[in-house]
Amino acid sequence: MFANIYAAFGMVFDPYVLAVILGSSIFGLFMGAVPGLSATMAVALLVPVTFFMPPVPAIAAMVSATAMAIFSGDIPGCLLRIPGTPSSAAYTDEAYAMTMKGQGEIALGASLVFSVIGGLFGTLVLILAAPALAELALKFSSFEYFWLVLLGLTCAIFIASDNPLKGFVSLFLGMFIASIGMGNPAGAPRFTFDQPDLLGGVSLVPLMVGMFAMSEVLRFAVSRDFSMKVAESRVGNVFKGMWGLMLKYPKSVLRGSVLGTLVGALPGAGADIAAWMSYAMSKKLSKEPEKFGTGHPEGIVESGAANNSALAGAWIPALVFGIPGDSITAIVIGVLYMKNLNPGPMIFVENPVSMYAIFIVFILANLLMLPLGFWCIKMAKRILSIPRGILMPLILLFCIVGSYATNNSVTDVGIMLVFGLLAYVMEENGFPVAPAVLGVVLGGMLEEHFVTSMIKADGQFLAFFERPIAGTLGVITLLLWLLPLALKLLRRKTLATA
């Protein structure tokens, strides 16, 4: 084990990898700080670039960019009252209220310091929990995996969308997209319309770039706000008074980190939901809930820690089961497959050095956030004054070249166009996009486990419940499906009798 850790340190502390971490950190800080560009988009745009890297720097780029983006999303929230990423939305009003009271320094400092603490906590849980879970998962057969994937997808829809029905439509659509091509257990070409380009399935990179980045450019094109005005504020030493906050709200820090990690680890719910839940919990359990919303740091401390710990938490199911914890890890899983680092319990047996390297990158990125984040806060005004009318066309061009680069073919630019428009229309009509991407990533896996299990069981569906763990998971999944329906019927009955 120590030889492995030593080798992992060697892999990370290589000038090339360190340069990648630094570069993608700055990229992530920028993407997070500009409203309209999110952490998910940062990862989607990184995919084509990481395509040309060895596995460890590729993963390192994504880890550091997302960690930075989730923090820097707090900056415009503080200065402009516009969250830089959805994950900062929960406490944007609070942070802005602090800036208006002349305490912007404290708000920014709390965002930075407690982001780092939350991120480190999530990383610690990831390091301890992932290998232990993998040990357990080694005993899983296709039956357990089938239910696990289904349960994960179900959670994703019920937690992450306010409209589960539309979430399901999205999910099924994603799984249909996954079934295009020859990558199914029977190896039969499906839904390819005799296009040789589709035999290998829909390429993941242009699909994700289209759904997460191009749709955003479309939304910008009709949004009509091409430039922004930054609030006047002076920012000095943001680290002043942080130790005091830490001593004043130790429970909040811990609660935010734990809740964030857990929510992150749940499939489908990511940093944004972790922040909302954590802010609500902080207000509920606070000794002075009446101060919330008037510029009170407690909620920022708790949910600032939560959204960064969720980031690391999401990697637990992603690495151990290949089930993404949020839309960022959904993209990461696609990249892991491209790099032949197939996620699953075996990854800890086959690639222990790469795993340790990922853990080290997580710690390094979170520590690097202190100096880089401080610098980003200082630069914030200049970053926010870049007109978005210049930024968005650049992002579009970057999307085009990135899609083109994966196969060197303009067909992929076409795929990006189709999925960008599709994502735009879906979101306009309230169909969430994240379940579709989860469906694309997990569809193949679900089908494989389903078909293998069916063949093993000789077509007897009851066999899916015969093994103890599989049976338990199966019953939970079915309960989750039927519960909302049962509740509805019950409500109708009580209404009828009343």
Binding site: F176, N184, A188, F191, P393, L397, V401, A405, G430
Partner: protein
Amino acid sequence: MKINDALSGLVVALFAVVLWIASSRLPAMGQDIGPNIFPQALAVGLLICAVLLVLRGLRGLRKTKARSAHVSTFSTTGAADQDAHWFTLPEWIGNGHAVLAFLLVPASLLFYIWVSEPLGFLPTAFVLLLVLFVTFRTRLLVAVPTALACALIIHTIFYKLLKVPLPWGILTPLAW
């Protein structure tokens, strides 16, 4: 454009039926459980969702009627009131500039697909950026040098550093 859930449901239902039929035509591989099973399961799932969507959409429309309000086919005002009308056009539809900006995004992708090979990456990227910059209200004096510099930078990143064979097109004799 927002369309009523009843109509989205119909579209989904239609897709589900086509998916079922297309799947049933897939070659069986000598086993009961062939490549058709999974897509057909998806089709069933989609159909269930579609029926529920249609029901919900119709309920929304009925509510509008019950309020003795008029169910219009098209509405441009009630952006928040998707349930109340068959179609809700986006607010920006009357703004010519917004429509142009929106259409330019897919148009620039098509432009790249058709033109990048013969014309080459650098000229294509320059034109594409310039047109979009100007549309998004950047002054020409800023837009021209920015477009040129950015095209060159992106070309360097992908062509030199990542070794992506971006086409040279008409600039082939000058290729560096």
